[in-house]
């Protein structure tokens, strides 16, 4: 090992931005030692140690962040190795967060990375409140919604310390996006939920009766045949034996209907809802997120405002724009969502209507008014007690223009809905 690293030399690129100001510096930027110290001491959190997470840890460590935490519940799989460059064949099966943290700490001395192998839901507000910036490299809509709602709920306008910027990235093939969420100041993840494409689903009657595509045969095998044949065994998309069984069933059905194109790769793709992923796109999106983290931490340049789409299939195209906050956002909005229904429709109809809305996307909603529960999913006794309300017409349960509160077990969301009778 070299005896000691000259930090003025090591960070000369970063310091060039921090020692002088310029016309594109952010408001309030003060060049000098203080901002350098700040960069080198603040705590940041990386959520996810996969394709984006590996890149983020490297980028942040080489930008001068020295206290980084990383949280991920996954272990390393062979299909990660084409892009998650901190992992090697010898690491298969080990926790991503731990292997990634070790690797970067060895490669970049002076940077401390604290891994947590587990779920984001394991941690509470106290844990999340220790970080100055939270950077997410997640692959699921649900995890993002949870992080977004949790961090936004932490904000207390009397205490500026509780404002935690979220930087969020995502990729698919040659496309990706990065965005900044400043709770209550910019649009949040929930504000833009209707921009997220839902995973492809196939109608059950097509799967059961009129298959046309190889995907229909695979869905038939996994959704209908597997539970029928193995009622007690959970289907595991990572178990090659399971995929092989599905492949055989799907192939037989495809032959029966003269459908072509059922392969091992397609079977696995459909069952696991696999999204193509390459190192390059992760690099672009993670670097964009890390650039914004550097700017937010130091104010050395104005931030991106506030959403960038990157499309690389046909040439290079970016679209960077300011995503607007929604007044009736269930997480950060101040205004109740308004919904119009006939007074004669049932509580179940209202729930169906709420579930259909692409901008809300509830999983298992519970509803109550100021005076009591309308329908609660849990605990069981309360569900049984409130279930009879489902078939009652709304006019028996609510006033016209009455406000209800909707919560969802799966999400840290509580939103107000004004129900107006349309007749």
């Amino acid at each position: 090992m070299a005896p000691s690293i000259n930090s003025q030399q090591r960070w000369r690129g970063v310091y060039r931005y921090l020692e002088r100001t310029g016309p594109f510096a952010n408001e309030g930027f003060e060049p000098g030692e203080k901002v350098k110290d700040f960069l080198h001491t603040i705590k940041v959190l990386v959520v996810g140690a996969g394709g984006l997470g590996c890149e983020l840890l490297k980028d942040l460590a080489l930008t001068g962040f020295t206290d980084i935490h990383v949280i991920d519940m996954d272990t390393i799989d062979i299909s990660n190795l084409n892009r998650q460059f901190l992992f090697r064949a010898a690491d298969l099966g080990k926790p991503k967060a731990e292997v990634a943290a070790d690797f970067v700490m060895k490669r970049v001395p002076g940077c401390k990375i604290t891994p947590y192998f587990g779920k984001i839901q394991d941690k509470d507000e106290e844990y999340y409140s220790q970080f100055t910036i939270i950077i997410c490299g997640l692959d699921s809509v649900e995890a993002r919604r949870w992080m977004n709602a949790t961090v936004i709920n932490m904000y207390d306008e009397d205490d500026p310390e509780t404002l935690k910027p979220i930087i969020d990235g995502g990729t698919e093939g040659f496309k990706g996006q990065s965005r900044i969420i400043l709770p209550h100041f910019t649009a949040c993840y929930e504000c833009s939920l209707d921009m997220q494409t839902k995973p492809t689903t196939y109608p059950m009657c097509t799967i059961a009766n009129t298959p046309r595509l190889p995907e229909h045969c695979i869905e038939w095998a996994s959704v209908l045949e597997w539970p029928r044949t193995f009622p007690d065994k959970k289907l595991d998309g990572d178990d090659p034996e399971h995929i092989k069984w599905l492949l055989d069933q799907a192939s037989a059905r495809a032959r029966q209907y003269d459908i072509t194109g059922v392969t091992y790769s397609l079977t696995q793709g459909v069952v696991k809802n696999i999204i193509p992923a390459i190192a390059s796109t992760n690099a672009i999106v993670a670097a964009s997120c890390a650039t914004e983290a550097f700017k937010i931490a130091t104010n050395c340049a104005t931030y991106m405002s506030n959403y960038m789409m990157y499309v690389g299939e046909q040439g290079v195209y970016t679209y960077t724009f300011e995503l607007q906050k929604k007044d009736d956002c269930p997480v950060c909005g101040a205004v109740a969502i308004k919904i119009d229904v006939p007074a004669n429709s049932t509580l179940q109809d209202l729930i169906d209507l709420l579930m259909e809305r692409k901008d809300i996307r509830l999983k298992a909603p519970s509803l109550r008014t100021g005076s009591g529960s309308l329908y609660m999913q849990a605990p069981r006794a309360l569900r049984d007690a409130t279930a009879p309300n489902l078939v009652k017409p709304l006019r028996e349960l609510l006033e016209d223009g009455g406000e209800i509160t909707v919560t969802d077990q799966a999400l840290p969301i509580s939103m107000n809905v004004t129900v107006r009778f349309s007749d």
Binding site: M1, A2, I5, Q9, R10, R12, G13, R16, Y17, R20, G22, P23, F24, K58, D59, L62, T63, G64, I78, S79, L81, N82, R83, F85, K106, R107, V108, P109, G173, F174, S178, T210, R212, L213, P240, Y257, I259, Y264, S265, Q268, I274, P276, I278, A279, S280, A283, I284, A287, S288, A290, A301, M304, Y310, G312, E313, Q314, G315, V316, T318, T320
Partner: protein
């Protein structure tokens, strides 16, 4: 259909994008990296991971403390050692499938002394090379027909430029390929549509008739009363839709999804099947039309065969792709439709393949036939193939042949356009040649404090000279850009290196797999606004 081997598993997420033949092309590629800089290693990291064939790093630098804050592929233990070896060791460790080597040589000296060295590569990536050496390298690559990507990072700004003489693409991966021939149904398709009697069907069969049949029948009826012409104006089109609707049965409890789809796709029925002009000009290109030689690339031989097909068996149309989009249908009708389109596509491809065999013999390369898969892919993508002919870096650099208007117009329409960074980079490089450092960069030899004001004045003059030589207003680049450029002073930020590493490796993959469409020819990324712009310069 066996359980995937470990290589297929490792590359699963990328094979879904470029498939086995794209992977094979990637694995045949030989890449040369000039300078194991932060940005250089970030680019090739993203090429080694997906499995290029081989990499050679040319670099004479010695690892210093400053590399440690920019480059992930050096460690403190490497300080004082050759950077070429350090980075290639740590890069190659990423993927055992990739071969690699390094040359501890000054890239600029290689360019000067051994131009033939570059001939062996599929792609040369030049980082931290500018001025005369860069222009010389670009000339060498142009003469030897080797793809070149020039990369420059400067603070929060990134720049990359591709130079290739000609890049042909069969699989450009459009969002969808739909060619259903409503206006000119081939005999098997017309007969299939005629075989159904919509009025005689039970309601279950009726509600499961694929929209292709519904539209073919409606168009047939339409043509009979309109002298075989297609609906050609707004009123006629509305009338045609009405005609489709008259076949719909309104029965309680029956959802007519097929009719909904038919109305949504009605425009396909009245859009004549033609050859897009960009494709026609490829078929008419002299490379396809004349002088086939043993060296004529496969692409052009197949293009010529397709041209001959269009003139003969194709009756003026391209080979049929043969794919049928998913639609509401009973299984049997859909599968029959698929078979009918696919059979016609196979016949078309067979006709093209027969012509290719003749042309291969004519070209004097009968011993090197073209694989049927390759011909099939061309036929399937015939309406979407692409030819990119790049301008050389020499043309761009010479003020007499530069595309100055492109830059001028961009700056005139938006003073914050990334073209400002492009001009600042070019002029900044000029300053660097005179000053021996970037404007604003401390002088490492004298140790003197840098005079930011006077460096800004030097850059401002260089920009004005650069613009004037190209007939552009000398104040086209804002003072803010000048001052910010001097502030960055050639700073190497890892985040910019990583971002360019992603952008350039995507472009390299598109070049090497010959799939998707690379930029033509320059991209500039502004890390302040997070905006990329592409220019043809």
């Amino acid at each position: 259909m066996s359980i995937a081997d470990s290589k297929t598993q490792k590359y699963d997420r990328q094979l879904r994008l470029w498939h086995a033949h794209g992977q094979a092309a990637l694995e045949r590629s030989k890449v040369c990296l000039l300078n194991g800089s932060g940005v250089g290693t970030e680019i090739v990291k993203n090429l080694i991971l997906p499995g290029i064939g081989s990499l050679v790093v040319v670099d004479s630098a010695i690892v210093s403390d400053s590399d440690l804050g920019e480059n992930f592929f050096v460690t403190p233990a490497h300080v004082g050692q050759p950077r070429a070896k350090a980075v290639s060791d740590l890069l190659l460790e990423l993927n055992g499938d990739v071969h690699g080597d390094y040359l501890q040589e000054d890239p600029e000296a290689m360019i000067e002394r051994s131009p033939e060295f570059f001939k062996q590569f599929t792609l040369v990536i030049a980082t931290q090379i500018s001025g005369k050496s860069l222009r010389r390298l670009a000339d060498i690559c142009w003469e030897q027909d080797v793809a070149l990507i020039i990369v420059q990072a400067h603070g929060l700004v990134g720049y990359a430029r591709i130079q290739v003489r000609e890049h042909t693409i069969v699989e450009s991966h459009p969002e969808q390929i739909v060619d259903l021939r409503f206006d000119s149904p081939f005999p098997a398709l017309a007969a299939f549509a005629d075989s159904f009697d919509l009025d005689a069907m039970d309601s279950l069969a009726h509600s499961h008739m694929p929209y292709i049949i519904l539209l073919l029948k409606a168009l047939n009826t339409w043509k009979q009363s309109h002298n075989a012409a297609l609906p050609s104006n707004r009123d006629e089109r509305e009338e045609f839709k009405q005609l489709v609707r008259t076949q719909e049965r309104k029965e309680p409890g029956v959802e007519n999804l097929n009719f909904e789809e038919a109305l949504a796709s009605a425009y396909r029925a009245w859009t004549p099947t033609t050859i897009p002009s960009s494709i026609q000009s490829i078929l008419d290109d002299t490379r396809a039309a004349e002088n086939l030689t043993p060296d004529t690339p496969d692409f052009w031989i197949i293009a010529r065969a397709v041209r001959d097909f269009v003139a003969n068996e194709g009756h003026g149309l391209l080979p049929l792709p043969g794919t049928v989009p998913d639609m509401h249908s009973d299984t049997e009708s859909y599968v029959n439709l698929q078979t009918i389109y696919r059979t016609k596509a196979r016949q078309d491809a067979a006709a093209v393949a027969a012509r290719v065999t003749e042309l291969v013999a004519l070209a004097g390369r009968a011993e090197r036939p073209i694989a049927l898969d390759e011909i099939d892919r061309f036929c399937k993508n015939a309406a979407f193939v692409k030819v990119l002919r790049y301008r050389s870096f020499a043309e761009e650099s010479d003020p007499r042949t530069a595309e100055a208007k492109t830059i001028g117009n961009a700056l005139a329409s938006d003073p914050r356009d990334n073209a400002a960074w492009y001009v600042a980079l070019r002029a900044g490089e000029e300053c660097k040649e005179h000053l021996g450092r970037w404007p604003g960069e401390p002088d490492s030899t004298s140790g003197h404090e840098v005079d930011v004001e006077s460096d800004a004045a030097v850059l401002r003059d260089a920009i004005a000279t650069y613009l004037a030589a190209r007939g552009l207003p000398t104040d086209a680049v804002s003072n803010d850009h000048v001052v910010e450029f001097v502030r960055a002073a050639g700073a190497n930020l890892h985040v910019t290196a990583a971002l360019l590493g992603g952008v350039v490796s995507q472009e390299a993959i598109k070049l090497l797999t010959r799939q998707y469409v690379p930029i033509d020819n320059t991209v500039v990324f502004d890390g302040v606004r997070s905006v990329a712009s592409v220019y043809r310069l």
